[in-house]
């Protein structure tokens, strides 16, 4: 704990904006401040050109047509637009939507909202490794099913769902497939058309771009998908999302996409080695558990439960030096532990004991070595303070104790 350098291992929460991205954005705040919808002067044309260029950069990253990229304020809005927009647009076809219990709240809460509007929602459970069962998915499809919404990669565990297989099932039953790909885009190959995804949400700030700008891919051919706008106004973004475009943000988003397209393979290779090293060293501690399928997982993420240690307390031992997240309830306003981990069948006790480490482009080998030392020391310290660790070491069967739940 002697260093005052703060190591950032919370890149799934947000990534730092790449300095090359910031540099690209700067002129669009003052010199080139135009409104991309101003068609009558140079300022507007310049802004429109910049937006078109960024749209093309993003389309290249996703291997889609640039007209298939809609700009939004972020992935939360994209998820809202995709799910509510399909529900309203395809109301005559049916009202049933299938999603998964471990989705982000932006998807789950949107679905809950639609339930009040007459939607029928199936929330699929996941298996212990975090993967959705394809058999369960296919069995859930009914004649009135209009949409399947399943995330590409999970924010808490990094688990990657079987996108191609899900797309094949959707194709077979003629159901639209939306994916919240926020954690995957810019980090691994995400080509929705090739995979068979019809709508895909993503966000700039998870891929070294700025906050406050996101995108929704909407397939324009085979099939031509339409969504009902959720924000009405000037008819921007082909009528699907009104509102003056965030030109500097979009320029940064485009630049981030270009950098990701060129560098993500080498980033992924480097980060998976660092992640593997971190995980291997931390799981040398007694009584640890890696959460989620290690064979189908993002290269920069590991989620580890340190049994008999509470996550927030553990983080407090090193949060002057390392920034991470915990599945413990205590980090949020609610007192419930991570629903993602609980949904994977982890007991609440193990969910409270979990820490998510998410590395990124700017993570160094030194960061990882320091994190290994600091986290190991923290776990040992917290176990010295933990009565249940002492009981476990004394051979007490913790499951036989009658705990007073509070």
């Amino acid at each position: 704990m002697n260093k005052h350098r703060l190591i950032y291992l919370d890149n799934n929460a947000t990534t730092p904006c790449d300095p090359r991205v910031v540099e690209a954005m700067v002129p669009y705040f003052f010199e080139k401040h135009g409104n991309a919808a101003s068609r009558s002067h140079q300022f507007g044309w310049e802004a429109e050109d910049a937006v078109d260029y960024a749209r093309e950069q993003i389309a290249q990253l996703l291997d889609v047509d640039d007209k298939e990229v809609i700009f939004t304020s972020g992935a939360t809005e994209s998820n809202n637009l995709a799910i509510k927009g399909v529900f309203e647009m395809y109301a005559r076809k049916g009202n049933h939507i299938i999603t998964v219990e471990t989705e982000h709240k932006a998807v789950l809460d949107t679905c809950k909202h639609l339930e009040k509007a007459g939607a029928e929602i199936t929330y699929l459970k996941v298996q212990e490794d975090g993967l959705v069962s394809l058999t369960d998915l296919e069995a859930a499809i009914k004649p009135n099913t209009i949409l399947v919404s399943i995330m590409w990669a999970n924010n808490e565990t990094g688990v990657i769902q079987p996108m191609r297989e899900i797309a094949t099932i959707c194709e077979k039953h003629g159901v639209l497939f939306h994916s919240d790909a926020t954690q995957a885009v810019g980090k691994i190959k995400t080509h929705p058309r090739e995979v068979g995804i019809h709508l895909m949400s993503f966000s700039a700030h998870k891929m070294y771009g700025p906050k406050g700008v996101g995108g929704l891919y909407v397939s324009r051919k085979n099939p031509r998908v339409k969504v009902t706008a959720q924000i009405d106004g000037g008819g921007h973004e082909r009528g699907m999302r009104s509102g003056t475009l965030n030109v500097p943000g979009i320029v940064g988003f485009g630049k981030a996409a270009e950098i990701a397209r060129k560098e993500m393979d080498q980033d992924a290779e480097r980060l998976s080695k660092l992640r593997d090293r971190l995980q291997a060293e931390l799981t040398k501690l007694e009584e640890t558990k890696v959460n989620g399928n290690e064979g189908s997982r993002m290269p920069h993420v590991t989620n580890i439960s340190f049994k008999h240690v509470e996550g927030e307390g553990l983080m407090m031992t090193f949060n002057q030096n390392i920034a991470v997240s915990s599945g413990s309830a205590c980090t949020s306003a609610s007192l419930e532990p991570s629903y993602v981990l609980v949904g994977m069948g982890l007991g609440d006790d193990l969910a409270h004991s979990s820490i998510r480490f998410s590395l990124g482009r700017f993570t160094t080998e030194e960061d990882v070595e320091d994190a290994i030392k600091l986290v190991s020391t923290g776990v040992n310290h917290m176990r010295d303070l933990s009565p249940i660790w002492e009981m476990y070491k004394d051979g007490v069967d913790l499951s036989k104790i009658e705990w007073a739940a509070h």
Binding site: G313, C330, P387
Partner: protein, 134 residues
């Protein structure tokens, strides 16, 4: 959420961590909370039979920083107190001393429960009737 200086102090330098012989006649043990809830406190007191005051107190806690600080503070306050005075410690005293935010009040409640459970265990062991503390 930022922690108060006092929480940080107790967290970094927890007072009276450890274990007393739970089978000893003059030791009372309180174990409260549940691993599923993310908090377990074990608080123990050792009573000086001649004076009826608490001679020593130890704790171990599984929980967040506020839970650890609440139990650490409780052991500090318990030492030298009579059982009745100890039973009078209110969770809001702990909230105030540690400047706990509303979401952490349950940590202080748990500490109060642990104190009461330890006292009750000691009294049961020694056949002393519970005195009501309002």
């Amino acid at each position: 959420m930022a922690y108060s200086e006092k929480v940080l102090d107790h967290f970094k330098n927890p007072r009276n961590v450890g274990v007393l012989d739970k089978d000893s006649k003059n030791v009372g043990t309180g174990l409260v909370g549940a691993p599923e809830c993310g908090d377990v406190m074990r608080l123990q007191i050792e009573v000086d039979e001649s004076t009826g005051t608490i001679r020593d107190a130890k704790f171990k806690t599984f929980g967040c920083g506020s839970a650890i600080a609440s139990s650490s503070l409780a052991t500090e306050w318990l030492k030298g107190k009579s059982l009745d005075d100890a039973a009078g410690i209110d969770n809001m005293d702990i909230v105030e001393e540690l400047a706990l935010p509303p979401v952490k009040i349950h940590c202080s409640v748990l500490a109060e429960d642990a104190i009461k459970a330890a006292i009750s265990d000691y009294r049961k062991k020694n056949g002393i009737a519970e005195t009501t503390t309002a």
